[in-house]
Symmetry: C2
Subunit: 766 residues, 2 copies
């Protein structure tokens, strides 16, 4: 038995080695710590690509409420970790990456020594609780591996993870008072009543199961777990800090605080006690399931049937290297290569796996479903990710992207509203942000031929969603051709985004020969015109009586009919027809200076203060890169007579907005959208209009790049004479032939081939 195990180990190691021989080791170029300071909202912990478990240190857990009101400070803790903090509260198993609103932070584990403390303490008084000081000098964050020294407890913590199992390894000092705390009160965006219920069973002296059920961003969310210790604890206990448990019946007669194997309530903290020798490692496998504790246990036993921490770390890092090496790049310097691969890393953190190893998952209808023939995913931040992340997946992850569409269609099937996801996570629709941006994701997949699902059904789902009259002004939009600002907030943003989404439906309908839908939605796609005020040259909120809103400031984002953008940025949002938009805005003559000034004007501080989710660095002039609505804007010069300005602006944004440092992201990474922008733009092209097959050309930052496609073909990019000065493109050859337009198509990429940019320090003005 032992012999077989060792042979297997050797086999696995040699496989890993063989992989390493064929592919470069890109792990060193990923710095998960990037974006953990200020507004990036990323987390530094351990996960596999698209992993269910994202196990990461939390440096604080501020309350959602302060004096009965929303506490804006908690916003900093969307991912649980802030680089400037000096203490770690513990390690929890679920995190969003880069979001601007939050949830999760399930099942916080903290190893401690000394007298048992069952509260986390505060940043100002860490000694008053179980949290520990730490130093970045003693911290290491890699893909699928995180290590830190917990100074107050003299414990070294190491984390790794498989898809559904977090693996903790804690190296203790000699102590008769070593503890592992499982804090079920902890959570991100927490408040007193967020825990609906928690339940813990001590199955035996090494195995715990249970669940946590919360209400918050996800209204009705339950995560099940199974937790296994490498060493038996000798005693355990728990505290229920809820004053809400009124029933004083018969289970109250037990000593529930000590060694009582069934804990339940709204505010539980449990502890497990050990005696440790110097340097003794206590390991924990912590598996999650969306379905049941039985499912969590099955996930654990299937994914990690052993206690070899290093093996899991190695296998999970090999998974990362496999995904990272789908695109190999050479860049001008190591920093840019780190930006690039950390971008790929962040782009591949989600959507996250949301099903057990047997395919079971909880549906939006709260029933248990089986994913037949696809991997079910959750965490769809679609207002962000339809722009570049899902298009990136259509290149680098087509199989996964099709499964994500399948997951969205399953969501639709289970939706009592009969709507595709807006922002969904963990069997819940949280309705965050605007639009129905499942549509461009589906359209992009269909139009690019990556649709191994029932496309006709998907089209119906898109159309049904887009006609949901009671949703967010759609009824008015359908009747009046725009969302009236006196009826629904962010009216212009909605009108513009609906119009674009409608265009996507029309394209799909055309391809699928549903000309009725093509006509219906082509007409709707023109609705952007209805909110353009020619008298001022901006998109502008219109009232239900047909007049434009009078009190209006084109620089403000506050109650001006927009969301996460002002009129300057949002007026440029007609991705499906920039040519018509430019015409509308007066043609090149008026449009180009307008666009120029976006990047050069001086935005007064008072307007910056209104701009959400970004640092001062996340803005260039009045161009807000830290939010999404303008992500396509720098490419719009391609539709004018001055495309070289796109080239210049892109290189400037790449330089200014991304740095290989903890504060290196100028705004929320938004589940990978900011990173996907970096990846595409570095490669020299960008999907200005998902749902079309075109990628607009910019200015590559890579020297060379090679994309290993899932279909076995290879698409390479080369930038001749690449340098920081040579940001202008003289000419472009696709497979040796000069390009006569400013785009390439998806087929160009998927057919394999090479794209060569000739770079120069001066623009080609012709």
């Amino acid at each position: 038995m032992k012999k077989t195990f060792i042979s297997l180990l050797i086999l696995l190691q040699s496989t890993a080695f063989a992989q390493t021989k064929n592919t470069p080791n890109l792990i060193p170029f990923v710095k998960p710590i990037i974006g953990t300071q200020k507004m990036g909202h990323t987390f530094p912990g351990a996960t596999v690509p698209f992993g269910m478990v994202q196990l990461s240190p939390d440096t604080d857990t501020l309350s959602y409420e302060k004096n009965g009101k929303y506490n804006p400070d908690m916003y900093r803790y969307c991912a649980g970790y802030q680089y400037d903090d000096r203490t770690i509260v513990g390690f929890s198993h679920t995190h969003f990456s880069g979001t601007g609103h939050s949830d999760l932070g399930d099942f916080l584990i903290m190893p401690t020594t000394g007298a048992l403390q069952l509260n986390p303490g505060t940043a100002n008084n860490p000694a008053g609780g179980y949290r520990s000081a730490f130093s970045h000098a003693n911290e290491l964050a890699e893909p699928a591996y995180y290590k830190v020294k917990l100074d107050d407890h003299n414990i070294t913590a190491e984390l790794t993870a498989s898809n559904r199992v977090g693996f903790h390894q804690y190296t203790f000092p000699a102590s008769d008072q070593s503890h592992i705390i499982l804090d079920l009160m902890a959570g991100i965006y927490n408040y007193e009543n967020k825990n609906v219920w928690t339940f813990v069973r001590v199955e035996n002296d090494t195995l715990i199961t249970g669940y946590r059920q919360t209400t918050g961003w996800a209204r009705t969310r339950t995560v099940y777990f199974a937790m296994s210790f490498s060493k038996p604890f000798y005693q355990y206990g728990s505290q229920n800090n809820s004053k809400k448990e009124v029933y004083r019946g018969f289970w109250g007669r037990f000593d529930q605080a000590h060694n009582f194997p069934e804990m339940a309530g709204r505010q539980l903290r449990a502890y497990f006690d050990f005696k440790t020798t110097e340097g003794e490692k206590i390991k924990i496998k912590f598996a999650l399931s969306p379905v049941s504790t039985e499912g969590a246990l099955r996930n654990m036993r299937t994914e990690i049937p052993h206690w070899n921490f290093d093996q899991v770390k190695q296998e999970s890092q090999a998974l990362w290297n496999k995904e990272l090496s789908k695109v190999t790049v050479e860049m001008l310097n190591a920093d840019e290569k780190i930006n690039f691969y950390t971008g790929v890393y962040h782009a591949f953190l989600g959507p996250t796996t949301y099903m057990d190893v047997d395919g079971s998952y909880k549906g939006l209808d709260q029933n248990i479903h089986k994913a037949n023939g696809f991997t079910n995913y959750t965490t769809f931040s679609l207002w962000d990710t339809y722009r570049a992340l899902h298009p990136l997946f259509n290149v680098l992850q087509p199989k996964r992207n099709a499964d994500m569409v399948q997951s969205m269609l399953a969501h639709y099937d289970q939706s009592v509203h009969k709507m595709l996801p807006v922002w969904s996570h963990y069997a819940n629709e949280n309705w965050c942000m605007i639009g129905y941006h499942s549509v461009p994701v589906i359209a992009d997949a269909v139009m690019k031929g990556n649709a191994p699902f029932d496309a006709m059904k998907a089209l119906e789902a898109c159309a049904t969603t887009a006609r949901h009259k009671s949703f967010d002004g759609i009824g008015y939009y359908m009747e009046q051709g725009y969302v009236p600002d006196d009826k629904s907030s962010s009216s212009v943003s909605k009108t513009l985004e609906y119009a674009y989404d409608d265009w996507c439906i029309a394209q799909m309908a055309k391809k699928l020969n549903r000309m009725d839908l093509y006509e219906e939605f082509s007409k709707r796609a023109l609705n952007y015109k209805n909110v353009y005020d020619a008298s001022i040259g901006f998109m502008r909120p219109k009232l239900s009586n047909g007049s434009f809103k009078t009190q209006f400031d084109v620089l403000s984002t506050h109650n001006q009919g927009f969301i996460e953008g002002n009129a300057w940025n949002y007026s440029l949002y007609v991705p499906h027809d920039p040519t018509a938009m430019i015409q509308l805005m007066g043609g090149d003559k008026r449009f180009i200076p307008h666009l120029d000034s976006l990047f050069t004007m001086d935005l007064p501080d008072k307007f910056f203060a209104e701009t959400e989710d970004i640092t001062r660095d996340g803005i260039i002039g009045n161009y807000v890169h830290g939010n999404e609505p303008a992500h396509h804007v720098a490419y719009l010069y391609n539709w004018t007579t001055q495309p070289w300005k796109t080239q210049d602006r892109i290189r400037m944004i790449l330089k200014k907005m991304y740095h290989p440092t903890p504060d290196g992201l100028g705004g929320n990474d938004d589940c990978g959208q900011m990173s996907a922008w970096y990846i595409f733009s570095s490669l020299g092209f960008y999907p200005v209009c998902p749902g079309s097959e075109q990628y607009s050309l910019g200015s590559p930052a890579v020297k060379t790049a090679s994309i290993q496609l899932e279909n076995g073909k290879v698409f390479t990019i080369e930038a001749k004479n690449q340098s920081d000065k040579n940001v202008y493109v003289q000419k472009v050859l696709l497979n040796g032939k000069p390009l006569t337009q400013h785009y390439i198509t998806h087929s160009d990429i998927m057919n394999g081939g090479n794209l060569v940019f000739y770079m120069a320090s001066k623009p080609v003005k012709k």
Copy 2:
């Protein structure tokens, strides 16, 4: 299609008729209203035998708490209905029958007319809410059928049910404001935080699904539902009265109060609006599931795939008649026959079915399990029901009783404590009352040869449960031979009941040839002797130092080492060896006068006030029939030289404790135990010691009885010269041969045959 349906209907009707021709119609002899006044704690609503749905009117819903303390008044509402009340709040789908503690009352439905009121109002101000006045003159309660006129709304309400589906039929007046209210805040033994979470989906304009999750007697209980209307509502809405929902996020931007199809929160009330014509019937099918809304919907579609209310009523009453007619009796008058069949009815209300039509159920481990080869049951009030109810099932319901044991063994398998059920309901152990009385239920089945389960495994489960040292004094009991009163309350009751349970294990072990266990538990079975104080002739609490408790009152039940009984009653509790007990207590000479005085002494009022769960009528002298510990006591004369006193006492108790009136039960029916006592005693015998094969003879109240056994055989009982005066048994012939002992055996019954009692007005003293 229509033709087929009609033929089917005729077929069903003729089947029902055929049944009626072969079996007497016993439905008229069942009065579900019996026990609904005062302490009986029964409910008058509609259910099938052992049904999951027990749909019944609730006349009030007092809070578990009053001024921060337990509210003793709510005790009256254990079954939701009190006969003296003048208003009905609504009709809820789950009820306990006859318990002395409570829970349930899930999914209260109320039809109303006029201005919508979304609160129940109070008994003193019914007009302030949706509740309605009613009159018993307009009320009819039959097995599987309940009807009442709701005076305030001019609505006639009718209820019937299949196993898992409640069927409501409401006859409305003409009204533009007709409502159906679904109150998810309502519940029995309710309090503000009892609702952990509730969730409702309006799937379409006739179908609602959802769940209610509570904490209370069952700590973690979830019931799922599917609710179907016979007619579409034209609008709907809900109110969340919880102040605990803190999150003010994106789902808050909807108008959730009106026509919003997903309701969730801690304190929900929903309404569905109709316009009705005079006499229009709106019907509701309301299915439950322990597993999921999908399961509830499947249960509904499987059990009642149509809208024919009368058909369901007829079929469900036919089910009752089938069960009732397993024993046909002739008695001295109609009242006694009503007592008898209402007893059978109450005895067959539970344990309740706890699995979906596909066999799925929630286990104690909160995972979903499939019941393979058995029906899974819940609602095990074992401290009550091991005495006579489960023995009755071994005669009348052997298949079901074996399934109940299987359900208990599944509970054991799923128990993190590794214990058989104590008092369990809905995938929860509520730890109510004392002892480990799954043991006698299992032993009784094994010893009586009704064990189509793994008896050896069952024996191990019994032994493991009995050795659970941290449970309720068992550790002390095992070390010291008794439960020390200074270590654990109700110490004498526990010692006595543990000793009896241990005897049961020993008997099973002997039969299964596990002589090690036989010896271990035979020794423990003698522990009753350790709490007998010969100096006073009573069982008496003993302290851990070996001395008896000094401050001791043999009449008091308050902190005297007993529960639901005083030393007088409990001192007679050695069911497994009355002979030895009588010897211990000084032999016949001292024992008989002692037992006589139990029935004749005058219990001072102050002690009555301490006696729980019974009315003044539930007590005869100091003999407390309204509670269980003395249920075997009147039969103990059979172990003396004066067995005729058993005959006299039994007839007296049958007369005094049971009446065919709402206040006809002198104490809680306790899930059928009180009724089972009536049935056995009326038939002329009683299982003094479940786990033995013997039934001790009393004095039959029947003139004749015929038991149709599941094995196809028939056992008949005849009482010659039966009259109210002729309570004494002159002689007994079993299959024509005179009995020489005061018992018959289980085999005597199961083999079929006849038992003839010769009755006389004078005792046979020989």
